[in-house]
């Protein structure tokens, strides 16, 4: 398969500099509201500052992919003498917790890097330089591009299996 150039976006999180103000959460939720900047709700933010003040823990974490099932084991880290609570570093919207889910519908949230902006809004508004945005290019194998329909079908395949879905589609097509 042919090689193509892909843009890799990185946000470096210097958690040592974070002092827990949660401006990143505020700006993220305001930017992603519809119309833009019409509401603020940190529970809708795609970044979350995990905070245990007296343990000296302030850890900004970005919302990653939705996952259907929780891990077989919960991670608990001790780093530099600090004990982090379960799954502190995990980015997933997962059944084990309500983090990174819309508070009313429960639908998962995912960081989109504020596509179309010069840099993500959390980076722009963090005045303490905790978050730094970088782009670089990498050569990767070209993979087939999925169409909208395929993307829509994928969760159904995940949920019911290809066999069931195929037989359902066949049954549906025979109805008329």
């Amino acid at each position: 398969m042919a090689k193509i150039t892909r843009k890799i976006k990185t946000i470096t999180v210097n958690a040592d500099k974070c002092n827990g103000c949660r401006t990143c959460e505020v700006m993220c939720s305001a930017y992603h509201s519809t119309p833009r900047y019409s509401t603020v709700n940190t529970a809708r933010a795609r970044i979350h500052v995990t905070t245990h003040r007296l343990k000296n823990i302030w850890l900004p974490v970005f919302a990653g992919d939705y996952t259907r099932s929780e891990c077989g084991c919960r991670d608990q880290y001790v780093l530099g003498g600090k004990e982090y609570s379960e799954c502190s570093f995990c980015r997933a919207a997962c059944p084990s917790r309500d983090l990174f889910k819309e508070p009313d519908s429960g639908l998962p949230l995912k960081c989109d890097m504020c596509e179309g902006e010069e840099s993500p809004l959390c980076v722009q508004w963090c005045l303490n330089d905790v978050l730094t945005y970088q782009e670089r290019e990498e050569e990767v194998e070209e993979s087939p591009v999925m169409g909208d329909l395929e993307m829509g079908l994928e969760p159904l395949v995940d949920r019911y299996g290809l066999e069931k879905l195929t037989s359902s589609l066949i049954r549906l097509s025979q109805k008329d």
């Binding site: 509401t39 343990k55 508004w125």
Partner: protein, 660 residues
């Protein structure tokens, strides 16, 4: 649709356990904004002058500010209002931290408590679900510790919790309410909370706060952010380090304490030690502070880092801010900063005001040394300065022995102890302990602020005008060249002509008329901040701050959709300010109460001070007794207040400014 505010208050009757979510009158926004403004309105409407602090009818109101929860930086203040057990007037201590915005995200502007719970409880507000929960297992627990215990019990690390410690439970008049790295400290809110049997109020919210014109709001925020960058990289020359930047005084960052330790008074606000700051002290204090502070800490959505996470030797973690590292140490005449960080933890867990409390302890030590308190009162007290202070603090928060009397503060304690103790209560205004400052020449601006402000705590009255004149004309010119925060350019001339000595210096310059304009301007800024929920460190208590009279109306308009200009905004906060004054007048406050401590300045000018006060009263539209005239009240749409004051005989029919 309500913008910026939620439009709902939570009303909790602690006696019956009844909880109501009450929609508020939308017109109150245009009349009083929110925060302190609407708190004052509620207090006027519902707390009659006969109600005392510990009566069930006293309200305890926790409010966020109008712009809390919007994207505007540093809008995170909780305003707590109640009749104070110490001053018997309307108190409104405030705290930063995270509680105010969480309450707004939960869908409420205020929580209003009335009556008393039969046993110790805490309140759990989780969006629409509100519970009164048993807190008997938390009795006696520290105010900081309690926050952690409740988070664990609720299994909700994101809950924000305001709690009291032992001092509040025991109704100590200087008991504070502690939350995250902040405290609502002044005038005994913790005591009223304890009297109502509330150990803590925990909040978690996941609802939206709406902006009327969000994109426009963000455009204003970009301008303000530019100015924050500018001020952060350009500290002001010619003023003390802690006043040169923005944010609250950076007491956790700066280790140079020459100014505080040599200019402020030690002990019971008695003695200045003008040669305290030696090289040895500087070295040891810097080392102690650098070791103790593990991280600088912000409040919600604030780029400043005014708080510090402290771990000091065997003292477990706690958070501190501002001047509290010095108040106990200076009160006790202890030269080692180690003591400040040690007693700080104990005091924050007990939940006491770190301005008033050390002065009460120092007052007790003075009375002992003067023979007014005796060995019997101090039985079991260690003889070293540090041990004595800790022993006294322990007695006060438990109301044990002499501590029971001291727990009411220096004014009331002095009168209970008698035998000449009254003379040692020398640093209170309206029965409330003041900053430990004793100076030489009368300052007319500070005279007016101390005498007349409803806050009764100078750090939240002063701010935008420099504390003193600059020695050189050149420096003054440089300062006024870039001063966009001023309400009027004529203030520049006032500052240019203000000299440290000789002609145009204190006490006769600024002139009484100029003083009125300057003080009124500063007071207005504080009243705006306290209504919108802005930390004074980014507005009213800061030289050349990012927020000022020219951009507040833009933000308020874009956030609420209620278009307002500078004059309109000024009128709103004037209305709330006069209502606040009328509330206190109705409780008996008059001109006779409006004076700074007698020994605040060495050089006093009684006749001139009376002239200053009268000029200011006239400027404000108050009569000779400091009561708003009917004319002034009518201008502010407060006819109902004039009627009430007349009915009670506080305002005489037809009385106006002419009597001044």
């Amino acid at each position: 649709m309500r913008y910026a505010e939620t439009g709902y208050n939570l009303e909790i009757d602690l006696a019956t356990g009844k909880i109501e979510r009450v929609e508020t009158d939308p017109n109150l926004l245009g009349l009083h904004l929110g925060g302190l403004g609407t708190n004052v309105k509620l207090m006027w409407d519902r707390v009659p002058p006969e109600t005392k602090a510990f009566d069930p009818e006293n309200l305890l109101i926790f409010s966020n500010g109008l712009l809390c929860g919007t994207p505007a930086f540093s809008m995170n203040r909780t305003v707590v209002s109640f009749v104070s057990p110490q001053s018997d007037l309307l108190a409104y201590p405030m705290m930063g931290g995270f509680w105010a915005t969480e309450l707004k995200f939960a869908g409420y502007d205020k929580v209003i408590f009335r009556n008393k719970s039969p046993q110790l409880v805490y309140i759990w507000i989780n969006n629409d679900r509100v519970e009164i929960r048993d807190a008997t297992h938390l009795k006696g627990k520290g105010a900081v510790e309690t926050q952690e215990l409740i988070r664990e019990e609720l299994n909700e690390p994101r809950a924000q919790i305001a709690a009291i410690g032992l001092a509040g439970e025991n109704r100590v008049f200087t008991a504070s309410i502690e939350q995250a790295r902040s405290s609502a400290s002044r005038l005994g809110g913790g005591a009223v909370m304890g009297d109502k049997n509330i150990k803590a109020v925990a909040v978690r919210g996941t609802k939206d706060v709406s902006l009327a014109r969000g994109a426009e709001f963000m455009a204003h925020m970009k301008d303000i952010t530019k100015y924050i960058h500018y001020r952060s990289t350009n500290p002001l020359p010619g003023v003390m380090t802690i006043l040169s930047g923005i944010g609250s005084p950076q007491e956790m960052k700066h280790t140079d304490e020459k100014w505080h330790t040599e200019s402020f008074a030690w002990g019971n606000a008695r003695q200045r030690r003008k040669d305290f700051w030696t090289k040895d002290i500087e070295t040891s204090w810097k080392e102690t502070q650098d070791n103790a502070i593990k991280r600088f800490v912000s409040c919600f959505n604030c780029p400043q880092q005014c708080g510090g996470l402290i771990t000091h030797g065997d003292v477990s973690s706690y958070m501190m801010k501002c001047f509290s590292k010095l108040t106990y140490l200076m009160g006790a005449y202890v030269d080692n900063l180690d003591f400040g960080f040690r007693i700080g933890k104990r005091a924050f867990e007990y939940g006491v005001d770190s301005f008033s409390t050390p002065q009460i302890l120092a007052f007790a030590v003075e009375l002992y040394e003067a023979g007014i308190l005796t060995d019997k009162d101090f039985e079991g007290c260690p003889t070293d300065k540090e041990g004595r202070f800790i022993w006294l603090l322990d007695r006060v928060v438990r109301r044990e022995g002499i501590g029971d009397i001291l727990a009411d503060g220096t004014y009331w304690a002095a009168r209970k102890i008698g035998n000449g103790a009254e003379a040692y209560d020398h640093n209170t205004i309206k029965k409330h302990e003041q900053m430990n400052i004793k100076l030489g020449m009368l300052d007319p601006l500070y005279y007016l602020m101390y005498a007349t402000n409803e806050k009764i705590s100078i750090t939240q009255i002063e701010g935008n005008w420099p504390q003193g004149p600059f020695p050189s004309r050149e420096d003054r010119e440089a300062f006024v060249a870039d001063w966009p925060q001023l309400p009027d350019d004529k203030f520049k001339q006032y500052f240019l002509d203000w000299n440290p000595r000789g002609e145009n210096s204190n006490p006769y310059y600024p002139t009484p008329d100029m003083c009125c304009e300057i003080v009124d301007w500063m007071e207005m800024l504080h009243n705006i901040d306290d209504a919108i929920g802005l930390c004074a460190g980014m507005g009213s208590f800061c030289l050349k701050p990012p927020y000022h009279i020219h951009n507040y109306p833009k933000l308020i308009s874009a956030a609420t959709g209620m278009d307002i200009d500078e004059a309109g905004l000024k009128k709103i906060v004037s209305r709330s300010r006069n209502l606040h004054r009328a509330f206190n007048n109705r409780r008996g406050m008059t001109r006779a109460d409006e004076k700074p401590p007698e020994d605040h300045w060495k050089h006093r000018f009684p006749e001139y001070e009376e002239q200053l006060l009268t000029t200011y009263y006239t400027y404000k539209g108050w009569n000779h007794d400091g009561i708003p005239t009917r004319e002034r009240l009518m201008e502010l749409d407060l006819g109902y207040v004039a009627d009430d004051l007349e009915k009670r005989g506080i305002l005489k029919d037809g009385q106006d400014n002419k009597e001044n």
